[in-house]
Amino acid sequence: MSELPTTAVTADLAEPSRRGRGTAAFVLRTLGGGLVSVGLIVVLGFFLFRVLPGDPVRTMTRDRPGNPEQLARLRAEFGLDRPLPAQFVDYLADMARGDLGTSYVYSRPVTEIILGRLGPTVLLTGTALVVSVALGLWLGSRAAWRHGSVFDRVATGTALVLWSVPTFWLGLIALMVFAVGLDLFPTGGMTSPGGVDGFVPAVLDVAHHLVLPCLTMVAVVYAQYLMVMRSSLLEEMAADYLTTARAKGLREDLVRRRHAVPNALLPTITIIFLHVGLVVAGAVTVETVFSWPGLGLLTYQALAVPDIPLLQGTLITLSVAVVLMNVLADLGYRLVDPRVRAS
């Protein structure tokens, strides 16, 4: 009997530190998993693009009559004359130094080119993500709350139709209707050609160019947030605590906003982070339609050559972004939902 309290005390004392260890181990495990993924991508990036058809040196020389010595010199310059394992070792060594190589087409460091194109892509995908999450969650919660209503059917139907439409087609239609037909927006690019003088006019100019590509991207992706929000809210709607809330005399709107939605948001967070990768992939198409000078367009152009160092660079940049988002989602979820922590 006398030993019992001791045991209880020991257990109580041990509890917080074990939980702390659990969290640290979880964080380490998540980060470790992320690092392993990045490592695999780096390896994959090397072999993946060497399977592509096309000879970079041939593209570089085009149909200018090239003499064999010149072609051999170009091959040597880019290390293409060396055996694949040796090229791989060089690649890993360069990668360790943060050197992504030199683009075949642009004859400039890949890191420099990618950094220049990162801004526009983050701008476009970031804006589209924020807007589509806001729009999707709001419409989704409304649709679920009045599920079966006309609003629900119209909102869900529209979202699913837009989700199924090819991005390319939708972008061109948006271009024809809003840019040409209604003359509201420019037909391509991120700024007016040559740029605009003054900071505020420049900001407005970019915003003006951003609307159509952003809308196209939002139209195509917001459905997934709507559907997740709708289904997770539907699950919550039968819960007893909502009856309690209503019994307290809360208005329907407040019941939904204060009680149901916060609980339904949890699974949505994961989805949001996990889909950042898909949004980036969508950028390839949207950037191509609207000539948006971002990473997606750069990847698309590099594929045609193929500009292997540039492709490796964009693959690694985009994949690292996706891995990073996944790690953040794992960590964030634990932070937000106490149940995950407890288990």
Partner: protein, 599 residues
């Protein structure tokens, strides 16, 4: 809540735009206020503005505007003075002496023979400078500035094509300090660029636009426009929309459907330009001829027999290709030199010409010993069925249709066909390695025929220049003779004989010379000089004539030309939506790459 979400959209866009506007890549290079600016849609990226590195067609266009050559070809495709006002060759044809005109770089420094010697010497001696144009000077032994006005080029072998050397001359006083970075410089480090052409690069937004301003010191006289802007449109459909809206003034590389859709629009001028390209069917020769005496590739052995090749040619109806595949925007071809170069082009004699004649084709195959089998496919003397792989790249929108026609024609004479559309890179890989039977291919041809003719020599096989894998020592002999034939009449006759030889041997089936379809804002600009002047192209010339001749339409005329009802616009949009709905995806992939964008 509704307000919030739209507000979020606008707010987020604005906030994000604020960040972007402050970021790199937005150079503020505006055209002079109130000036006239011609905006040209670029459907290909600018790889570099460094004349020693730039190879894309888009970039070489800009280079031709910025840097004058020693000599160049005019709108009539004949050699004209450039920086050299006159020239003469030594009796042995090995030394050419050029007299440099009294002109200035755009910064006011005189242009001298030393600039020419510097440029050529860099190309000849500095490996880093050779990426773009190094191969053009491989036959040069020395280039020396005799005095400020005179430069002498000594060649190792006589070189008849020397006056067509298309190399931008750069200012020594700018580039001598950049020699260490000659292979890596972007060419836009210091703006404005110092050049000698009609327009000078004054602004560059990477991946978006290049701005050029009129060069007041251009030796032919200042151009009539204040500036030119090349604006990036990755997608030709979007560029056509930009043209309709007025965001751009000139678009090239339209498909027949896009071109036809602009018909009847009073604001838009259309130009069906006779181009310097040819489309051909490669017939794989590689197997018998080989590279360096070694057989290579896996071509069907039947293709070694000239009767089989002739039969395939007789099966093809070039007229139907022009009318039904190319929608009439094309002309049938016979030789590899396009008719826009009348001095060099080849037309077979009446007895020599092979027309569309399936009966003759069948007879030839019978004669060669290919008997019809039970399934309609002929079988050779060796028992192997005469089934050929037929490949084409997906970069040309009409290729799938072309393959259907070809398959039909070949099947009709008892030749089995397995058609396949693939990426242009895959087609290139297959043709260079000789792993194909029949391939749809094509090249752009320069004003001087030497390079194109050289692609049919044995030495080209297995290289990136590889065409059909043709190898004929008699042809190679003629090729060497024309290279050294300084007398033009004599050279023309040799070139004619070479093409006649190719035709008789059926080195390939030259199908068509396709037009370049261009459209521009006729309500704003006029005076585009085409090359050739008679029905040629505005963009993609070997020279700057298209842009140099352009001038704004007078203001009163412009007002008369514009204006279409709103109802018309709406109807147009609806019609376009319907059309696009069907074909957006196909058209989306119809981007021209690789061989089609080759210079």
């Amino acid at each position: 809540m509704r307000r919030v979400s739209f507000g979020t959209c606008a707010g987020a866009a604005l906030l994000a735009a604020t960040i972007a506007a402050g970021g790199p890549g937005v150079a503020h290079a505006q055209p002079p206020p109130g000036g006239t600016t011609l905006r040209v849609a670029l459907t290909q990226d600018i790889d570099s503005l460094n004349p020693f590195v730039a190879v894309f067609l888009s970039s070489t266009q800009v280079m031709r505007l910025t840097y004058e050559n020693l000599t160049m070809v005019g709108p009539d495709n004949a050699v004209q003075p450039g920086l050299a006002e006159s020239w003469e060759s030594s009796p042995d044809g090995l030394t050419w002496t050029f007299r440099i005109r009294d002109a200035q770089w755009s910064d006011g420094t005189p242009i001298t023979a030393r600039d020419v010697a510097f440029t050529y010497t860099q190309l000849m001696t500095n490996p880093a400078a050779q990426d773009a144009n190094g191969s053009a000077v491989t036959n040069f032994a020395a280039v020396t500035a005799i005095d400020d006005r005179t430069v002498a080029i000594t060649t190792k072998q006589p070189q008849a094509s020397i006056l067509a050397t298309d190399i931008p001359i750069v200012p020594e006083h700018v580039w001598s300090s950049r020699v260490a970075q000659i292979g890596t410089a972007t060419g836009a480090e210091e703006l404005p660029v110092v050049g000698s052409g009609p327009y000078i690069v004054t602004g560059h937004q990477e991946g978006q636009s290049v701005t050029l301003s009129a060069n007041n010191r251009f030796w032919r006289g200042r151009p009539l426009l204040d500036s030119l802007q090349f604006v990036r449109y990755e997608n030709v459909d979007a560029a056509v929309q930009g043209l309709l809206k007025g965001d751009v003034d000139l678009v090239r590389d339209l498909t027949p459907a896009q071109f036809d859709s602009l018909d009847g629009n009073p604001a838009i001028g259309r130009n069906e330009g006779r181009n310097r390209r040819y489309t051909e069917l490669l017939l794989n020769w590689s197997h018998p001829s080989g590279v360096d005496g070694q057989p290579f590739g896996d071509g069907h052995p039947a293709l070694r027999d000239v009767r089989v090749r002739k039969a395939l040619h007789h099966a093809v109806d070039a007229g139907a290709v022009v009318e039904r595949v190319k929608q009439g925007y094309s002309e049938p071809g016979y030789g590899i030199i396009p008719p826009v170069y009348p001095d060099w082009t080849f037309t077979p004699s009446d007895g020599q010409r092979r027309g569309h004649d399936p009966a003759r084709a069948r007879a030839l195959l019978d004669e060669a010993g290919y008997r019809p089998g039970p399934d309609g496919v002929r079988t050779g003397p060796d028992g192997r069925p005469l089934t050929l792989r037929l490949i084409a790249g997906n970069q040309v929108p009409t290729n799938p249709q072309l393959l259907e026609f070809l398959a039909g024609w070949f099947t009709a004479i008892g030749v089995g066909v397995t058609p396949q559309i693939m990426s242009s890179n895959q087609v290139d890989d297959a043709t260079v390695a000789g792993n194909f039977d029949i391939a749809v291919s094509g090249w752009s041809v320069n004003p001087d025929p030497d390079a194109t003719l050289g692609q049919q020599t044995c030495a080209a096989n297995g290289t990136s220049e590889s065409d059909s894998g043709y190898c004929n020592p008699a042809y190679d002999q003629l090729h060497a003779t024309q290279q050294a034939a300084i007398d033009e009449t004599e050279r023309r006759e040799i070139v004619r004989r070479m093409q006649s030889m190719l035709y008789d041997d059926v080195h390939a089936i030259v199908l068509t010379h396709d037009a370049m379809l261009e459209a521009y804002r006729a309500d704003r600009f006029t005076g585009f000089v085409t090359q050739p002047e008679d029905g040629g192209v505005i963009t993609g010339q070997t020279g700057y004539w298209g842009y140099y001749g352009a001038r704004p339409v007078a203001a009163d005329q412009a007002a008369a030309g514009s204006g279409g009802g709103a109802a018309g616009v709406v109807a147009g949009v609806l019609a376009a939506v319907v059309v696009l709905g069907g074909g957006a995806f196909l058209v989306a992939r119809n981007r021209r790459r690789s061989r089609d964008e080759r210079e």
